[in-house]
């Protein structure tokens, strides 16, 4: 436990002095703020148009602006996360290997699991810190809505973002443990996430059991449920087992470093 905390503390310290973390968080906040603004403006315009129509034709307005905004916003967040999170984990192991500090970690009385968990929790914390300011955008809309939209939309949405983020971070850490080169780690992580993403599209062309399997494996499929305010256990299980699988593989990868010529 103490070992996990020691590694966590060091990783967090490194994130806060590393330009990469600032660039990623900065770009993420800039883009998410821009998209939120556009989405909000679009749906307000839509609702006005609907209202005009209803005045003329006497139809009741049927648009729920806050929910639609949130759904679209969480949709955009997922794309931003896909593009930006691989940069948060590219160096976690690759850099240690390159600098030779892996030798320090592996000759310390730390288990591989402690190293892996410490690093993973640190990257997840940074990810959460990166998301935090976006909550203020939604809060801004929330308290001006009448009637207040259901809370579960917001909670499920952020839950989904965190779960998907955690999966990409675990995958990225594992890939980073395979190479000494940060660039290779980023590109491979990006490619892997993209493949998991488009499994969904692949599924739409096929039929039968394969469709279901591919759809289930797609990292974005379960996320969409969360953005609609639905917490589905199959999605929860998917993300949690995804994270556990890649953390386990990272532990094995560190272990195998001892057996290879370092």
């Amino acid at each position: 436990m103490r070992g996990i905390y020691a590694v966590y503390r060091k990783e967090m310290g490194n994130y806060f002095v590393s330009p990469i973390a600032y660039v990623v968080v900065g770009v993420f906040l800039l883009l998410s703020a821009f998209f939120f603004n556009r989405i909000l403006a679009y749906f307000i315009q839509q609702s006005f148009a609907m209202e005009m129509q209803s005045m003329r034709f006497g139809m009741p307005p049927e648009i729920d602006v806050p929910s639609r905004v949130m759904q679209s916003f969480f949709g955009i967040l997922s794309s931003l996360i896909l593009f930006l999170t691989p940069a948060l984990t590219m160096g976690v192991y690759a850099e240690e290997r390159k600098r030779g500090t892996m030798e320090l970690l592996l000759t310390s009385p730390l288990t591989e699991l402690e190293i892996v968990l410490g690093k993973f929790l640190a990257s997840l914390s940074l990810f959460a810190i990166m998301l935090l300011p976006t909550a203020s955008y939604l809060a801004f809309m929330y308290f001006r809505s009448d009637p207040l939209p259901p809370w579960r939309l917001l909670l499920a949405g952020y839950g989904g973002v965190l779960l998907m983020g955690a999966s990409i971070l675990a995958l990225g850490s594992f890939i980073s443990s395979l190479t000494e080169n940060q660039l290779i780690a980023t590109v491979l992580t990006f490619a892997a996430v993209l493949i998991l993403w488009v499994l969904d599209f692949g599924a739409s062309g096929t039929q039968g059991a394969l469709t279901q399997v591919l759809a289930y494996l797609s990292i974005i499929q379960h996320y969409q449920d969360f953005t609609r305010g639905i917490v589905d256990t199959s999605g929860l299980i998917y993300y949690v087992s995804f994270v556990i699988l890649f953390l386990f593989l990272t532990v094995r990868s560190l272990d195998s470093m001892r057996w290879r010529r370092a």
């Binding site: 070992g3 310290g13 600098r99 030779g100 030798e103 970690l105 000759t107 009385p109 010529r261």
Partner: protein, 318 residues
């Protein structure tokens, strides 16, 4: 404190460490001497639990380095060949991190860090970023890192590499001062370093141990084949003949140098100092003598000597 028995490490078809056995007693400084690629680093990495051996056993403080790796790692301070540093950390925060991962209890941490800083001569660099330090200071941070948890065993891989002569002397003093309370293994490819700091020496070459002995014994063994270099202005053939006639001179080699000088190398039998006889002979012949000195053996020659020596011992037994 450290017992190594038939330790073997093979990388595919290459055997980096080949049935190495030695022991280190508590409080002793053991020197690992050998050329680059001899297997020093590999042996140290196995002892520190960084990599497993292919065969044989190694025990540190009674714990097997493979089966009880965590217990061994708790008791070892290790400075790898390249100090494992985080450039963007300050010296103090780095040592704090190392103290934490090595399991130093919170109440002792501050004292241990101050002590390590002091021993490594870093007290005034406490708050400096590691990336701003010179090569020598980085090496010292690496050394401080190996001391910070006050380990029973300290393993140093080429601790004086990259230091200037003054720093080298300081580091040697530091290492000597650590003996007694700590058991130390250090590796080097510099011969005088071993004789200055170590109680015992393991000479390792091509993964095999060539000799284990005290520096004093080793030096006298090596004196066995003494060599003398002579530079004189003389005709080559008569010079060689004259020198070869001296009793005790085993082999005389000559080569021409500039200005009509001849350089002769004389190998003598063990324990004999032929220098005065050589000088007398050359003066007797009336040749001007320019230089006369004993030649110390290079590390490669020592290995050659030790290995051929062993072969010579082995033959009569067989």
């Amino acid at each position: 404190m450290i017992e190594v028995q038939d330790l073997t490490k093979a990388y595919g078809s290459v055997t980096a460490v080949d049935h190495v056995s030695f022991t280190v007693n508590k409080g002793e400084i053991l020197g690992f001497l050998g050329p680059n690629g001899a297997g020093k680093t590999t042996t140290m990495r196995i002892l520190t639990g960084f990599m497993p051996a292919t065969g044989g056993t190694a025990r540190v403080a009674g714990f097997d380095v493979f089966a009880d790796s965590l217990e061994v790692r708790r008791r070892i301070g290790y400075l790898p060949e390249n100090p494992p540093l985080y450039p963007e950390m300050t010296v103090e925060s780095y040592l704090d991190f190392v103290a934490r991962i090595k399991g130093v209890p919170p109440e002792r941490r501050a004292d241990r860090i101050t002590d390590a800083l002091q021993k490594a001569g870093l007290a005034d660099k406490r708050n400096e970023l590691i990336k701003r330090l010179s090569r020598g200071y980085k090496q010292r941070v690496g050394l401080a890192q190996a001391l910070v948890h006050d380990p029973d065993v300290i393993i140093l891989d080429e601790p004086t590499v990259g230091l200037d002569p003054k720093q080298i002397i300081e580091v040697r003093h530091l290492i000597k001062s650590l003996a007694g309370t700590h058991t130390i293994i250090l590796s080097t490819h510099i011969l005088p370093e071993v004789s200055m700091t170590c109680d015992r020496v393991v000479i390792i070459n091509k993964g095999k141990i060539a000799a284990v002995d005290t520096p004093q014994n080793l030096t006298s063994r090596l004196k066995g084949g003494q060599r003398i270099r002579v530079e004189a202005q003389a005709p080559e053939k008569p010079l060689q003949e004259a020198l070869a006639q001296i009793s005790g001179a085993n082999r005389v080699q000559t080569e021409a140098a500039s200005g009509g000088h001849i350089i002769a190398t004389i190998e003598s039998a063990p324990g004999q100092d032929l220098r005065s006889q050589i000088a007398a002979r050359i003066v007797e012949k009336g040749w001007p003598l320019y230089e006369l000195r004993g030649v110390s053996l290079s590390l490669e020659e020592i290995f050659l000597e030790l290995t051929t020596d062993d072969a010579a011992h082995a033959q009569p037994a067989a």
